[in-house]
């Protein structure tokens, strides 16, 4: 999806509008909490959307990077006596370095083989978080200290709503710029055909690695924000199901579409909350909805609806 300056402004403007409207329409602390979760998940989904949609590479272990961000934020203050924010910064660095180190060999794999390799990576991170009980607290999870900035205790759903919302806006702005850069064009080219891209001089391995590292850092940022916001993390943040959830967000919203990633994150974060009304039917309904969405809007919600609109206009 080529994004000129106009589409870029359109997407950011729409996002800003939603950010401003949500607190007016749903002012209760509960709704703001859910919305903050949506923005956090959207940051992770955005990174994955760049990897999957733009570069055409799959990651079934992306929650592993989220786990690294979240646990760095939790463990830094506990074991190293660091400030939570600095710990989170270290977490982003750690996720980026890990992605850089494993990215080059792993990204040589294609399709389903890449899927299983990333899956393994996620499983390993999750396993370490569960097993190293003295360090991580194990399956029961761990407390995260409250964030304080220059004596200001960062607390309350409304505060976190705005912090996460602004982070999402920044993340989207960066992602849109990346799409529109020479790196973005190189990635689109290698998505279509790696051989053809390398023939015209695209360094395929390097570009795949760049977008993998970016996606990992986005996920770690989401993990760190989640840890600070929720003040409690369990290894589930890095679990296989979380990875699957992230991929589903990207696909259901629309592969390669940045607004799609936000819509997908919103849907998969809000739906389970709404479906608790169905009590034990929650999972059945969620599964059914995922199938229906994919069957009827197979390119994803945002491109699907955009397609329907243009077709109607043409008719």
């Amino acid at each position: 999806m080529a994004s000129g300056t106009r589409t870029k402004l359109l997407v950011l403007g729409a996002l800003l509008l939603v950010l401003l409207l949500v607190p007016l329409l749903f002012p209760s602390p509960f709704h703001l909490r859910v919305a903050a979760l949506v923005w956090i998940n959207a940051v992770a989904a955005l990174g994955l959307a760049l990897l999957m949609g733009l570069a055409g590479q799959v990651s079934l272990g992306h929650a592993g990077f989220m786990g690294i961000g979240a646990y760095a934020t939790a463990l830094g203050p506990k074991h190293l006596g660091l400030d939570p924010l600095a710990s989170m910064g270290l977490g982003l660095l750690a996720a980026g370095v890990l992605a850089f180190l494993v990215g080059r060999p792993i990204l040589r794999l294609k399709g389903h083989y890449l899927a299983v390799a990333t899956l393994g990576l996620g499983i390993l991170v999750h396993l370490v978080l569960v097993s190293e009980v003295p360090v991580t607290g194990g399956p029961d999870g761990i407390q995260v200290p409250r964030l304080e900035l220059l004596g200001w205790r960062v607390a309350g759903p409304a505060t976190w709503y705005w912090i996460t919302g602004i982070m999402l806006l920044l993340a989207a702005w960066l992602a849109l710029n990346l799409e529109d850069s020479s790196t973005g064009r190189a990635l689109r080219a290698l998505h279509d055909s790696e051989v053809a891209a390398s023939v015209v001089g695209v360094d395929v391995a390097r570009h795949k690695l760049v977008v993998f590292v970016i996606a990992a850092v986005y996920a770690a940022l989401a993990g760190g924000l989640f840890a600070l916001f929720n003040r409690f993390v369990t290894p589930e943040v890095a679990g296989f199901l979380r990875s699957i959830e992230l991929v589903t967000m990207v696909v259901i919203g629309g592969m390669g579409s940045i607004p799609g990633a936000v819509v997908g994150a919103a849907l998969l974060t809000v739906l389970p909350q709404a479906l608790t009304l169905f009590h034990e039917y929650e999972h059945a309904v969620l599964g059914l909805l995922i199938i229906l969405f994919m069957v009827f809007l197979r390119q994803g919600i945002v491109p699907g609806i955009a397609g329907l609109l243009t077709r109607r206009r043409a008719a």
């Binding site: 792993i106 299983v116 396993l127 051989v195 999972h283 599964g287 995922i290 199938i291 069957v295």
Partner: protein, 290 residues
């Protein structure tokens, strides 16, 4: 020696179940390029339906037959109601459809059955016998023999029947298969039915050893997928080899390295194998055409 035999049997038993799941993956993948993440749910259905039918008073063989029938029906419905309507969608979209299906099946199982763990009595008693100093459960032999019978039966079907040849032809080239008059829709439905049956049998055989619950499918799908990839996707022999290797890796990692990190060791080895052999142990080299 005793320890070696013990671990070997433990590994082969779990490996046989992984192999059956991987075989199911492979069948459907060959016929349709769909990676069916709902594959583990067939194993779950096999175990859970047998448990509940047996508790309701059905004799074990009848309960098992009913479980296979339920799994096959589920497989056919999955094909008819979810995979076929999504025909022509991208590979990732189809994966998400099957993930949705697995959440749906699990959700329904949780309502119809319950959230507890359940056991089945071992088919021929649970008195372990001694083999070279190791204690082996008779049920382990049932699992191994059952898996071997399925693999052999599937081979006979693929090589010796017209329908099996039709499946192979569809796998090789769908358009060409259609041109010579093969109903590829039927073949795909058949692949789902057979995969479901294989999974269900695996679930029935292993439940007396490992117990079962509504949620066992996810981890089995994950392991089966890893096993299929380890062997090289789309290769039935590779699926069986991959499954057994994965089972053995886990058992020996648990016995000799650390039981908490057995899954980690298994995935680490898979990563290393794939880095050295990007098409899996027995996969063919794919050539990208430009």
């Amino acid at each position: 020696m005793a320890e070696l035999v013990q671990l070997l049997f433990a590994g082969l038993t779990t490996g046989a179940v992984y192999a059956l799941v991987a075989l199911g993956f492979t069948l459907i993948f060959q016929a349709s390029e769909v990676v069916n993440f709902a594959q583990g749910e067939f194993v779950m259905l096999g175990g859970m339906v047998t448990v509940f039918a047996f508790k309701a008073g059905l004799p074990l063989p009848l309960a098992a037959a009913l479980a296979i029938a339920v799994a096959v029906t589920t497989g056919l419905l999955l094909h008819r109601l979810a995979i076929e309507p999504a025909k022509g969608a991208t590979v990732v979209t189809l994966i998400i459809v099957t993930i949705g299906a697995s959440i749906l099946i699990r959700g329904i199982a949780q309502i119809v059955f319950d959230k507890q763990f359940h056991a089945l009595p071992a088919f021929t008693g649970d008195e372990p016998f001694r083999l070279l100093g190791a204690a082996i459960l008779p049920q382990s032999l049932w699992v191994l023999a059952g898996a071997a019978a399925i693999v052999f039966g599937l081979w006979l079907f693929m090589e010796r029947t017209l329908l099996g040849k039709a499946v192979q032809a569809t796998a090789a080239n769908r358009l060409a298969a259609e041109l010579v008059g093969i109903d590829t829709r039927l073949v795909l439905a058949l692949a789902f039915a057979v995969s479901a049956a294989i999974g269900a049998v695996g679930g029935i055989l292993v439940t007396p050893i490992t117990l079962t619950s509504y949620a066992v499918g996810t981890i089995l799908a994950l392991k089966g997928f890893a096993a299929a990839m380890l062997g090289g996707i789309g290769n039935p022999v590779g699926a069986v080899v991959g499954g057994l290797v994965l089972g053995l890796l886990e058992a020996f990692a648990a016995g000799w390295i650390s039981s908490t990190y057995k899954d980690g060791v298994a995935f680490l080895v898979i990563l290393l194998v794939l880095l050295a052999m990007p098409q899996g142990l027995l996969g063919r080299r794919a050539v990208e055409r430009v």
